[in-house]
């Protein structure tokens, strides 16, 4: 059953390249996203399951991340179809520098979007470390053309950085994979296949010192892709230059997939009794990411970069949560859900603002609330949610992580955590509040009303975030607890 999850978007991706006209291709995108979501729902209700040979399996982590990715993709596809239908065709002026540029052919864009979904699904399902590597690298390659949708020199620069930094980073993860194989090997013995479950069953026979070295390489490799500071350099550029639909997917879905790569190794480390080593490193990188992101969030003049740095911050929070373990690991998984939904919503709204104001400068955007009432309201609510204000989901998850830190008596970590959260709050508030309020500038053409396709998908994501803050369903709680236990939680 689960192979259909990979196959459906994959075939749709090939079809997208073959179709000649735009309309059927957009319908294909929506249909594939919907089919993926339905299949995901069916598979998740059936519970954990695998293919014979166990290379692909929906495990306790996958049950959490797969529906998240699928739902976010569905929202992005809906928004994207509407966006593409109203995007200018042919050459247009670059609002920032005045030069002419045109967009990528839609066939490439939609085809790569669908392949992106395929490869991300493969990352979530793969249980073999080699296959995991192949699919993570594949996500980089199929998403590079997505960043280069607006064909001008800034997006080209972002694409090149993304390709090179991530490819080199992920190449280090391949080295980590070889080292993991070395840790698993015994002289004169058959090769142990690099399946997560097999390694965990065999954990007693792993060589601890090589396992640690492998973990470091995995952390650096997949950490580059996940955007942990100081390896995050590609992230703000790619997120700010890509079209907003793609930014939402990169931030909400792709970063989680990279995190999953690290979590899988951590699972093996925990089983081998070396969990503490990985946890300390995760705490360190988590705090570093939060601190560095907070510094760049303060006085950030570009609102899409602002959201991108906030992604670095939240990845840091997740790494910290898993690193602390216990209750915090529960908080970290809940936070992964909250962050993806909130950030997806905010990037989509940022797209609406960008389309109308034609600038990414915070200083040039005023009065969103008045010109785009729904987007403005969602923008404000999204800001409140993202910075961890009650009653939204991130408040609950960030609070849980704090509680875990205090329970373990790690006061210094808790203080640093709160300090960085406060810094980020101040930075976000000083950029986003003035954007929403104030008097809008004069527009050369009268802004038309907001289209349903551009506000309903982010509003739905926002509704989920609100729901997670007020009420976490029983089943979801159990799923998160199981996932947290898998990486060494309570």
């Amino acid at each position: 059953m689960i192979w259909t999850l990979v196959l459906v978007p994959g075939i749709a991706g090939f079809l997208a390249f073959l179709l000649r006209s735009d309309r059927p291709r957009r319908i294909l995108l929506l249909a594939a996203a919907l089919a993926h979501a339905v299949l995901t729902a069916v598979v998740c209700l059936e519970g954990p399951q695998g293919l014979p040979g166990d290379w692909l399996r929906l495990d306790e982590l996958g049950v959490l991340f797969l529906p998240l990715t699928s739902a976010l993709f569905l929202a992005a596809a809906w928004y994207g179809v509407d966006y593409l239908a109203h995007e200018v065709h042919g050459p247009q002026r670059d609002p920032e520098e005045g030069a002419l540029f045109s967009n990528e052919p839609e066939a490439i864009f939609i085809g790569c979007l669908l392949f992106f979904l395929t490869t991300m699904t493969l990352v979530i399902l793969s249980q073999h470390f080699g296959l995991l590597w192949v699919s993570v690298e594949a996500t980089t390659l199929v998403s590079a053309p997505l960043i280069y949708f607006h064909r001008h020199h800034r997006s080209l620069e972002a694409t090149w950085k993304y390709l090179l930094v991530c490819s080199v980073g992920i190449a280090l993860a391949l080295l980590g994979t070889f080292l993991l194989a070395l840790a698993a090997s015994r002289p004169g013995c058959e090769h142990v296949p690099l399946l997560v479950q097999r390694l965990m069953d065999d954990a007693g026979g792993l060589r601890a010192e090589w396992l640690k070295v492998a973990f470091v390489f995995f952390l650096i490799g997949y950490g580059t892709k996940m955007g942990l500071a100081p390896l995050h350099t590609w992230l703000p550029d790619a997120h700010s230059e890509a079209p907003s639909v793609v930014s939402a997917l990169l931030s909400g879905a792709l970063l989680n997939c990279a995190f999953l790569g690290i979590l899988r190794v951590q699972q093996v480390c925990v089983a081998a009794g070396e969990g503490a080593f990985g946890r300390d490193l995760l705490v360190l990188f988590g705090l570093l990411s939060m601190g560095l992101a907070a510094v760049f969030i303060l006085r950030q003049p570009d609102f899409k970069r602002l959201l991108a740095y906030s992604s670095v911050e939240h990845m840091g929070i997740m790494a910290l949560g898993v690193g602390l373990g216990g209750v915090s690991a529960f908080g970290a998984f809940l936070h992964a859900l909250n962050h993806s939904l909130t950030k997806g919503m905010l990037f989509l709204i940022a797209g609406n603002i960008l389309v109308l104001y034609r600038t990414k400068a915070v200083a040039d955007v005023r009065g969103v609330w008045r010109v785009l009432p729904v987007s403005g309201a969602l923008w404000m609510l999204g800001f409140l949610a993202l910075t961890g204000s009650p009653p939204f989901g991130p408040f609950l998850s960030e609070f849980t992580i704090l509680k875990g830190a205090l329970e373990q008596g790690r006061g210094a970590v808790a203080v640093a955590y709160l300090f960085f959260l406060a810094l980020a709050f101040v930075g976000m508030a000083s950029a986003i509040l003035p954007m929403a309020q104030g008097a809008p500038r004069e527009f050369s053409e009268k802004p038309s009303g907001e289209r349903l396709g551009s506000i309903v998908p982010p509003a739905l994501l926002g509704a989920f975030v609100l729901m997670l803050g007020v009420y976490v369903p029983e089943q979801l709680q159990t799923a998160i607890q199981t996932a947290a236990r898998a990486v060494g939680g309570p």
């Binding site: 280069y148 620069e157 090149w160 090179l164 490819s167 070395l182 090997s185 703000p236």
Partner: protein, 233 residues
């Protein structure tokens, strides 16, 4: 036989570090592809399985012919044929390359020797190849050289896999090979766009996106100096 291949591999690394001509660099990387294909064919002793032959041929075709061809095609439109003023000069680069080789020998002492029958040179040379690739990426200006650096690094990691005699599995290795090929394919296309858009392929001039310009953020006194400067002009 193995030792000859490995010494040649080490020499190609040094040649890459010391050469300024982009065309020659591409050829050297192609030669590395041939060496690696031979290495992967001869390293595992015992039976010569079909799986091994298929992988070696795949590697030969992709790494020695297709990837260099893609990169050369990306280069054709550009008028540049030389790396101009690298961040670190060629002599210094060669020195660093030799140092990396020494470091690799020291590092490989610390690895367990799983295959006593394998040449003791494999691991150090493989490590040195990874280091050379990384060094090329950070020390050169041309985006093309950075792509070459990525390819060299990937070669090195593959050689480490051979040295540790860790076969992932046939499908995965095929997947890795395909991924590397597609990476170079996408990089080639991006390179083509870069040189068309900018009329150069200098990666260090790709610098309009950044948050930290190396200076401190604008302070209150900046506006004063600006007024002063404007008055002066």
């Amino acid at each position: 036989m193995m030792d000859v291949l490995l010494v040649l591999l080490a020499l190609t690394n040094l040649a890459l570090l010391g050469s300024s001509r982009l065309g020659a660099c591409i050829n050297t990387v192609a030669l590395q592809g041939v060496l690696l294909a031979l290495l992967s064919l001869f390293a595992p002793t015992g039976e010569c399985s079909l799986r091994l032959v298929v992988l070696s041929i795949g590697m030969l075709v992709l790494k020695a012919f297709v990837c260099p061809w893609l990169l050369r095609r990306a280069l054709r439109g550009a008028r540049v044929s030389r790396e101009i003023e690298p961040f670190i000069g060629y002599t210094a680069s060669l020195m660093i390359g030799l140092l990396a080789l020494g470091l690799s020998f020291w590092l490989s002492e610390r690895f367990p020797r799983l295959r006593p029958d394998l040449s003791p040179l494999v691991l150090p040379v493989a490590l040195a190849t990874v280091f050379s690739g990384l060094f090329l990426i950070v020390s050169r200006r041309k985006a093309l050289t950075q792509a070459l650096g990525y390819l060299v690094m990937e070669n090195g990691i593959f050689a480490i896999g051979v040295a540790l005699s860790q076969e992932l599995s046939f499908l995965v290795e095929l997947g890795v090979l395909l991924d590397v090929f597609f990476a170079v394919f996408v990089m080639g296309i991006t390179l083509f766009h870069i040189q068309r858009e900018f009329d150069h392929i200098d990666a260090d001039r790709l610098s309009s996106l950044k948050d930290w310009s190396g200076r401190f953020p604008k302070m209150a006194f900046d506006s004063e100096t600006k007024i002063l400067r404007e008055g002066h002009e």
